[in-house]
Amino acid sequence: MTTLSPTPDLATSAPASRFGVFLRRLKSACQTYAKDPASLAALSFLLLVAIVAIFAPYVAPYDPHEMIGWRNSLPGEDGLFLGADGDGRDVLSRLIWGGRVSLLTGVVPTLLSMVVSLLIGVTAAYIGGWLDQIVMRILDMFFAFPIVLMATVVAGILNPGLFTICIAIFIALLPYITRLVRTTTLQVKRQPYIEAARAGGASNWAIASRYVFPNVVAPSIVYTTTLMGLMVVLGSALSFLGLGVQPPEADWGTMVSEGRSVLRKAPHVTIFPGLAIVMTALAFGFIGDGLRDALDPRARRR
């Protein structure tokens, strides 16, 4: 569910000196990615889910909070394709609206965490010395809390809600991504082409922005993508504990936990949101794999 350590093969070291090279690499990466059917299917699935969620007001057949059918109607009954939940609400509509929250908790705090981690990690590792030491010791402190514990405590202390979950995930992920960024930066820093650039009189800022940053971003994106899937699951788990969005709003995790009481009588109430969580997490995982293969030339299919 969590604590995915940076895999070592992400620590790429391919040099990229000019924008043109970057474009060429991007193109080749896209081509590699497109060749992998699993990651392509995963990407299409996620895009579809995202579009449906974004346009929920237009796509959802019913109001997700309104009692439409009889309580716990099975799929097909009452004219509801996926049936109704314990409150008589349309499961399909709730699934569509719930996707907004679930994707949001998976994507936004993770992305934010990546951006902040990039800033902290690159700065600390590039400048090095006491700054690096201080940053690493502070990270170590946060690192001492297992991620679920961190997220539960943060979410429990703030008032429950969407914002709280996002903050909890954001804080819990910071040390993990920052550590990856820092390690990668240190590796890039040791590369000969950085020495060359420095000898050629490039400024610190120029080296950091033109050589270090691009090489650090790629593995961070791969790692972050995989984390997004895990965070969809973690976010849903926090909602199960009642620390997440509050009714009548619901994410997929809330839907699963609400339906647990009627598991035998109306299994569809939990199965569909459960499937949505699993498939989304799976899709993020596949996209992460595909991205890694595409962005890291050494890890490419042999």
């Binding site: 909070h65 309580r71 609400e258 035998r264 009588k265």
Partner: protein, 533 residues
């Protein structure tokens, strides 16, 4: 065609799932070795009766401690009767201000201490006498909530086995005062109070009751054993274990797997299935439990009586009890809960009439273009807030938008007890005591927080006068009539509350459990339970 085949596919899938999930899980008789395991829906608070609240703590304390008198829960009859417990008999003076209790001889606490008038007085001093060395300020505050502090003038030891309580004014509900859940006027062993102090009593709850405390594992279980030296009839079972099973599906699983003999608050949707599988469902139509909304009379929007009446008209209570409670409750129309002797089953205040609600709202200046928006404080209590969401929908139909402010139970209680602040329009509570005086705590002008639970700041002197008269009336039938009169007047003239339903307290038992009595209360006497294989 396509649609049909899709449907058939879906149907097949669910058939397969249903085969895996829906097969009959017949009740398995639980092991019997004299242990009775009760699945509680929430952890109970501490076992020091003078500074605790809540049904769960009362349930455990009921087995451990005794009061001078007690409500007899060995019968499911309504209304409940008082019986002497530590007091064998008592007299009430003609003016209704002096209660003389004759204590039962030969009763000892679980630690061997003798129960006598000094022991009782020592307990009263703990919350009444600020000069006593063991005075407990928190207990004092708790007792103030049910007016023990304001009511009691003095407590005197007449002789070794006689104690006299003198009240400031006539009060014929005094015997039942403190017999409810919040707080509990039980008699604790004075030796234990001296030895363990205020902080030690929760870990060493020592009373005179039918069961003795063994151990408590926080958030997991509390274990009691039979008191072999009990002065009266001893319990059938050797041991009670209260298991804390907060997650509703887990609670049901424990029952189904034979790992609990009884569970409280089963998920309503599961009850039918449990019954089909051979489990025994018990309920009580006269449980003193009422689910109600309170309106904030200090909120500018709620000051218009038409709005309060409109809300009462707009809620489909029949629908709630039928579709959410699955019949384990009935609509409530007044605040006299079904557990009190003063309950009038024929009283009806406002029945479901959305048109009337709309008309009243229109008179008050609200309609579809100018919708009324209200702030509703809601507690999270493990039931999925189904009723609250139902009410939200019903009110939406007549033009009122409810904002649900959900709070975790403990946080909710902290917000509820001090009374509604001006930015809240209504809140909710599930409660009820067996004494009809409970309605007075919610209605009377002088029972606003912190001196009572009139948390909506309601005040009507005419109602107050009738309630005071009831308190001073000796005859129970006359008293009941006065309480009914006060309740009807408040509901019809002012509608400060919207009662929603009386709850039947379903308890599900393993078929091997015999002798359990689902008495009209929110806690039960477990001394009659036995287990037969």
């Amino acid at each position: 065609m396509v649609e049909i085949s899709v449907r058939r596919g879906v149907a097949c899938g669910f058939l397969a799932a249903a085969l895996a999930l829906g097969g009959s899980l017949a009740a398995k008789p639980a092991k019997a070795d004299g242990t009775f395991i009760w699945g509680m829906p929430a952890d109970h608070s501490i076992l020091d009766p003078h500074v605790t609240c809540g049904w769960m703590a009362k349930f455990v304390n009921y087995q451990i401690y005794e009061g001078l008198v007690e409500i007899d829960l060995t019968s499911s009859e309504w209304p409940t009767k008082l019986k002497g417990q530590l007091a064998e008999s008592w007299e009430i003076s003609d003016d209704g201000t002096e209660y003389t209790f004759h204590l039962r001889a030969g009763v000892t606490f679980h630690d061997g201490t003798e129960m006598n008038a000094d022991a009782v007085k020592y307990n009263y001093d703990r919350f009444l006498d600020p000069d006593a060395p063991h005075f407990n300020e928190t207990a004092h505050a708790y007792m103030d909530f049910i007016r023990v502090i304001g009511d009691v003038k003095s407590v005197e030891v007449v002789d070794d086995m006689t104690i006299k309580v003198t009240l400031n004014s006539p009060n014929y509900e005094f015997l039942r005062t403190g017999m409810e859940d919040c707080p509990q006027m039980y008699i604790i062993s004075p030796t234990a109070l001296q030895t363990y102090g205020d902080d030690g009593i929760p870990l060493h709850p020592i009373g005179t009751g039918k069961f003795k405390f063994v151990e408590r594992e926080a958030s997991v279980s509390t274990t009691l054993v039979r008191n072999e030296d009990y002065w009266g009839e001893k319990p059938e079972i050797d041991r009670i274990i209260f298991r804390i099973l907060e997650d509703p599906p887990t609670r049901v699983n424990a029952l189904r797997a034979g790992e609990a003999h009884a569970i409280q608050d089963p998920p309503w949707d599961e009850i039918q299935g449990l019954e089909d599988d051979g489990f025994v469902i018990t309920k009580n139509d006269n449980a003193p439990t009422i689910w109600y909304l309170s309106f904030n009379m200090n909120s500018p929007k709620m000051q218009d009586v038409r709005i309060r009446q409109a809300i009462n008209y707009a809620i489909d209570k029949e629908g709630i009890v039928e579709r959410i409670l699955q019949g384990y409750g009935r609509p409530a129309y007044g605040m006299l809960n079904a557990g009190t002797y003063a309950h009038d089953p024929d009283f009806v205040s406002y029945t479901y009439d959305p048109d009337k609600a709309r008309a009243l709202l229109k008179e008050a200046g609200y309609d579809e273009d100018n919708r009324l928006s209200l702030e509703f404080d809601v507690m999270i209590y493990g039931t999925g807030e189904l009723t609250e969401k139902w009410i939200q929908r019903d009110l939406k139909k007549v033009g009122i938008d409810l904002n649900l402010n959900m709070m975790e139970w403990l946080a909710y209680l902290d917000a509820w007890v001090p009374g509604m602040t001006d930015d809240v329009d209504l809140n909710e509570m599930v409660w009820g005591e067996q004494t009809p005086r409970w309605t007075a705590f919610g209605y009377r002008c002088d029972r606003v927080p912190p001196h009572g639970n009139n948390i909506g700041w309601y005040c009507n002197e005419k109602v107050d006068k009738i309630l005071q008269q009831a308190l001073e009336t000796r005859d129970e039938a006359e008293r009941a009539a006065l309480y009914q009169q006060a309740d009807a007047m408040a509901m019809m003239e002012d509608a400060p509350n919207a009662p929603i339903y009386h709850y039947y307290n379903p308890i599900v038992l393993n078929p091997s459990v015999k002798g359990y009595v689902n008495a009209p209360a929110n806690w039960w006497d477990l001394s009659t339970v036995r287990i037969e294989e």
